[in-house]
C-alpha cells in the first residue's frame, strides 16, 4: 500500500525523463545547450557550493560542541538551528531581504564594504546558506555524537592534547557523516527557489530559470531544464547514498 507513494514518485519522474530524452531529444538538446541555461545551472552549483563551504567551516565547531556538551539552553539552541527547515521559503526570503536590503540596517553596513545582496551572487549564497545549514549541522552533530567519547578520553590519557584527539580521533570517525551532511546541504541549496527568488531574481539560478521559462514558454521550454537538473541531482544523490552507506557500516 505504501508503495503507491513510491510508485507515484517513480511515474512522475519517469514520465518527464521519458518524454524529454526519448520522445523529443532534439528539443532537449537545443534548450539545455542554450548558454543562458548552462550559465544558470553553473551559478546554482557554484552558489550552493559556497553556501556549503561556509556551513562546513562555521558548522563543525558548533556541531562538535553540541554533541559533546550538555548545557542550559541546549534545546533552545537546537530549536534555533532547526528553524529554517520549517519556515516557508518565501518567508525566509522576505526576512533575509528585509535585513539585507540596501536600505536595511545590516544591508547598508555591507554596502559600505562593497557587498550587495539584492540581485547578486551573495544574496543567492546567503539564501541558500539560510535554508541548508541546518542539514549540515545536524548531520555533523549526529556524526560526532556517534563517536564514543571514551575514545577521545583514551587518546588524552595516551598523551594527545584536546585538539589532537579531536583531529586524530573524532574528526576522521565523524567524517562520513560530515561528508554526507555537506552533500545534503549542497543539494538543499541547489533545490531552493522561494527564498532565493525573493532576494535575487537576477542573476537567475536554475530554479528561477525554470519558473521563468515555464511562465513564458510553458512546459515545452521548462521541461528540458527540469530534466537536466534531475540528472544532476541524481548524481549528487548517488554520491550522498554512497557516503551514507559507508557511514552505516
Amino acid at each position: 500500500m505504501g508503495l503507491v507513494i513510491v510508485l507515484f514518485v517513480f511515474i512522475t519522474l519517469f514520465n518527464l525523463l521519458y518524454k524529454q530524452l526519448l520522445l523529443d531529444p532534439g528539443n532537449f538538446f537545443s534548450i539545455v545547450t542554450d548558454s543562458m541555461v548552462l550559465r544558470s545551472i553553473w551559478l546554482t552549483l557554484y552558489a550552493s557550493f559556497l553556501a556549503t563551504l561556509i556551513a562546513v567551516v562555521l558548522g563543525i565547531p558548533l556541531a562538535y560542541f553540541m554533541a559533546r556538551h550538555d548545557f542550559f539552553g541546549k534545546q533552545l539552541l537546537e530549536a534555533f538551528i532547526d528553524i529554517p527547515i520549517i519556515i516557508p521559503h518565501t518567508v525566509a526570503g522576505i526576512a533575509l531581504f528585509s535585513l539585507l536590503t540596501r536600505k536595511g540596517t545590516v544591508g547598508s553596513v555591507f554596502e559600505n564594504l562593497g557587498i550587495v545582496f539584492q540581485d547578486s551572487l551573495w544574496g543567492i549564497v546567503v539564501a541558500m546558506l539560510f535554508v541548508s545549514y541546518p542539514f549540515f549541522v545536524n548531520a555533523a552533530k549526529e556524526g560526532f555524537a556517534s563517536v564514543n567519547p571514551n575514545l577521545e578520553r583514551v587518546a588524552r590519557t595516551l598523551g594527545a592534547s584536546q585538539w589532537r584527539s579531536f583531529y586524530n580521533i573524532s574528526l576522521p570517525l565523524a567524517s562520513p557523516h560530515i561528508v554526507s551532511g555537506a552533500i545534503m546541504s549542497w543539494a538543499r541549496g541547489i533545490s531552493e527557489f522561494g527564498a532565493v527568488v525573493v532576494i535575487a531574481y537576477y542573476p537567475m539560478i536554475a530554479s528561477t530559470m525554470i519558473f521563468y521559462r515555464f511562465n513564458t514558454g510553458g512546459l515545452q521550454e521548462s521541461q528540458p531544464i527540469a530534466v537536466l537538473l534531475i540528472l544532476i541531482c541524481f548524481l549528487t544523490f548517488a554520491l550522498f547514498r554512497y557516503f551514507s552507506r559507508k557511514r552505516r557500516r
Binding site: 571514551n150 578520553r153 583514551v154 588524552r156 590519557t157 595516551l158 598523551g159 594527545a160 570517525l173
Partner: protein
C-alpha cells in the same frame, strides 16, 4: 607511587566518592573491589584526569596532578569495552601513545616488538581492529596502554565483557604481563575471583567509600566489618560475649556454648562478632583433632554449590561449612543427622561490635 588523599566527588548525585584515601606502591597490583554502582570507574577517571575532583588531592610519582589534564599525567587507561580506535589497525593503535610523544622510529619499533612478545599478539599486528575477538581486543588495549611505560595502568573491569573460558586464560596472562612489565596497576572489578587471583592488595569500595584495604588473605579471611564479611560471602558471623581473656586466648560465649578464639584488645564482658569462612569448618564423627572448638550439631540442609556442598548445621548457633563431595559421601551427611562441628581457634576472626 600513587597517592589519593581525602578525595571527594559528587557526580550528578548518582555516583559519589566520599573521602577516599589510598596509597599504592610502585609495581603493586592493586584491586578496587566493590559492587556495581559503588563509584569505582569514577575513581579511575579522577586518577586519569578525565574529571577533576570536588576536593582532595592526587599524586602520581612525586607530582601533585589533581588538576592536571590527562595528557600530562602519564597514565594508561583501559576501559571496560577497550575502546580501540576503529579507524586504525592494531599496530597503529598500539603505537599511538609513542607517536604522540614523538618517539624515534627505532625506539617505537623496538618497544613494540618487546611488548608484542610479552603479550603474544604478533599475529594480530596488521589486523583491522573490528575483526578482533573480545579477548584479542583486551590484549591490544592493554598493549596500547603499556606502550609508553606509564606510571600507572588503570583497568576498568577488564574481564567483564569476556566469556568464562577466555577470562580464565587472560587472568593468568595478566599476572605474567604485570610481573614482566613491572607495571603499577589499579584494577577495579566486582569479581571476587579476579581480585583473589590477581591482587597484591585489595581495597573494598562500598557506596563511594573505601571500607577496608588489605591483602587478599586479610580481606577474605579477616574482614573488619559485617558488611565486608557479607560481601565476601561469609555467612558465619556470630554475636558473642567475652568471658575471659588472656595473652594467648579469649573464651567467648555464644548462647549457652563456649568457644576459644585468638585474643583481641577488648574488655571482659564486651560484645564481639566472630567470623569464620565456611571452608575452615570441619565436619566429622569422633575424629582426633587439634581443634579446641568442637560442637555437636544437627544437619539442617545440604546445598550443592559448584563441586562442593554448603552444609548448614545447627549447634545452638547456625554454622555453614563448605565440604567436598567426598566428605559428604564418606560422612553420610543428610538433613536431620547428627554431626560434629570443629574448627581451629586460629581460624576464627574476632571483631569489635
Amino acid at each position: 607511587m600513587i597517592s589519593v588523599t581525602h578525595l571527594n566527588n559528587d557526580w550528578d548525585g548518582i555516583f559519589s566518592l566520599k573521602d577516599i584515601s589510598l596509597d599504592i606502591k610502585k609495581g603493586e597490583y592493586f584491586v578496587v573491589l566493590g559492587p556495581s554502582g559503588s563509584g569505582k570507574t569514577l575513581l579511575l577517571e579522577l586518577i586519569a584526569g578525565i574529571h577533576i575532583p570536588d576536593s582532595g588531592r592526587i599524586d602520581i610519582g612525586k607530582k601533585d596532578v589533581t588538576t592536571e589534564s590527562p595528557e600530562h599525567r602519564n597514565v594508561g587507561f583501559l576501559y571496560q569495552d577497550y575502546n580501540l580506535f576503529p579507524h586504525y589497525n592494531v599496530r597503529k593503535n598500539i603505537e599511538y601513545g609513542l607517536r604522540v610523544r614523538k618517539m624515534s622510529k627505532e625506539f617505537i619499533d623496538s618497544r613494540i616488538k618487546e611488548l608484542v612478545d610479552i603479550i603474544g599478539i604478533e599475529h594480530l599486528m596488521d589486523r583491522d581492529v573490528k575483526t578482533l575477538s573480545g579477548g584479542e581486543q583486551q590484549k591490544v588495549g592493554l598493549a596500547r596502554a603499556l606502550a609508553y611505560r606509564p606510571d600507572v595502568i588503570l583497568l576498568d573491569e577488564p574481564f567483564s565483557s569476556l566469556d568464562e573460558n577466555t577470562k580464565h586464560a587472560l587472568i593468568h596472562e595478566m599476572k605474567d604481563i604485570h610481573s614482566r612489565e613491572k607495571a603499577t596497576i589499579i584494577h577495579v572489578t566486582h569479581s571476587q575471583e579476579e581480585s583473589m587471583l590477581l591482587a597484591d592488595r585489595i581495597g573494598i569500595m562500598m557506596e563511594g567509600r573505601i571500607v577496608q584495604v588489605g591483602t587478599p588473605e586479610e580481606i577474605f579471611y579477616k574482614p573488619t566489618s559485617v558488611d565486608v564479611a557479607r560481601f565476601v560471602k561469609i555467612e558465619n558471623v556470630w554475636e558473642a560475649r567475652v568471658v575471659t581473656r588472656d595473652e594467648e586466648a579469649m573464651l567467648l560465649r555464644i548462647g549457652d556454648k563456649e568457644l576459644v578464639a585468638p585474643p583481641i584488645k577488648v574488655q571482659k564482658g564486651s560484645e564481639v562478632r566472630v567470623i569464620i569462612r565456611p571452608e575452615d569448618i570441619i565436619l566429622g564423627h569422633g575424629q582426633v583433632t587439634s581443634a579446641r572448638n568442637t560442637f555437636l550439631g544437627k544437619v539442617v540442609s545440604l546445598e550443592k554449590c559448584g563441586f562442593y556442598y554448603m552444609v548448614r548445621v545447627d549447634c545452638g548457633f547456625p554454622v555453614v561449612a563448605a565440604i567436598t563431595r567426598r566428605s559428604v559421601d564418606s560422612l553420610g551427611l543428610e538433613p536431620g543427622k547428627n554431626v560434629e562441628v570443629l574448627f581451629k581457634a586460629t581460624a576464627l576472626h574476632v571483631i569489635e561490635k
